[in-house]
């Protein structure tokens, strides 16, 4: 039996991959990339969860904490995700100002 949190995050990743491969609109593709990032982040946090644990901030009433490392990694990954997204979107704007379309098919047609 595979835990449902893992299945949910893998499903999110896979939806992202599907969008990136199947869609032809550049902004849609970037939405797909963001879905992938979010899925991986959820996966990492789920890996770090300990049943009955509490957030890793010192607390006199609890002795069991969840794993702090995945949280630190995800903090990094979120910021990286938003950076890539902003950069990609500014490139999309640049491309749009140059040729006036967001569709990959039309982009290819303008080339010929």
């Amino acid at each position: 039996m595979i835990p449902y949190y893992y299945l949910a995050s893998i499903a999110l990743i896979v939806i992202g991959i599907y969008v990136v491969i199947a869609k032809k609109n550049l902004i849609k593709i970037i939405i797909g990339l963001d879905l992938m990032d979010t899925g991986v982040n959820l996966l990492l946090i789920a890996i770090g969860y300990v049943k009955g644990g509490t957030a890793p901030i010192e607390n006199a009433n609890y002795a069991l904490y969840v794993d702090p490392i995945p949280q630190a990694l995800v903090l990094t990954a979120i910021v990286i995700g938003v950076s890539v997204m902003a950069l990609a979107l500014s490139m999309v704007i640049g491309l749009y100002k140059n040729i006036g379309t967001l569709e990959i098919d039309e982009l290819r047609r303008v080339k010929e």
Partner: protein, 243 residues
Amino acid sequence: MKRIVAAILAILIFIVLALAFVKIPFGNINLSDYHYYNPITDKQTSDSVPQHYLVDGKKDTGSTNIVTAVVVDYRGFDTLGEVTVLFLAATGVGSIMYIFEKEKRRKVRRANAVVETASQLLFGFIVLFGAYIFVHGHLTPGGGFPGGAVIASAFLLLYLAYPRFHAEHKTLNVAESLAGLTFVIAGLLGLLISGSFLYNFLPFGVPTYLFSAGIIPVIYVAVGVKVGSELTGIVDAMMGVRE
């Protein structure tokens, strides 16, 4: 056609990844079951890395928030890289949007008086709240990244309320440079004082007090200022309302 290929590929990846997680338990783990190996001393220990952080984190770093201890101290080098990534993104967006600066601005409608007054009132409070989040990063949840994002959202509010508003570019650049330099210099001072980069060389003080945990608050303030000014820069460039 392309959709079918994509769907088949996606289902395939789903199955492969899901099967990899059959043997990985969710929640039912005991963090002290893993015993790490130190490659320098070539010794197997009876401790695991997360368990060490949770038990000795406060003693090692002086921070009561262990996530902050990991982010800024144990794995501070990653955070330096992460700050660099955001800096790169701001630089890249600035470089790409540069040509569009000269573009003529569209005629913009003024937002109504309620929005303007409310955003003026709120601006200060939001900035204060952001500053609170990153100053207390070693005590409470939060830290430099969300704090900086909150500050950037205050500026976002101004951008929405006053379509003609734009942040002074030189100030933003100088703020982000100085904050970045603070981080690197703190690291280099650690190298000078104790021979290892990013070493926490300041006294830890009493945990749970504001002035504790050595260089962690210093670095988190620098990160907060940097993230705030960079995200503001990105928003500013994306708004494209410059002359």
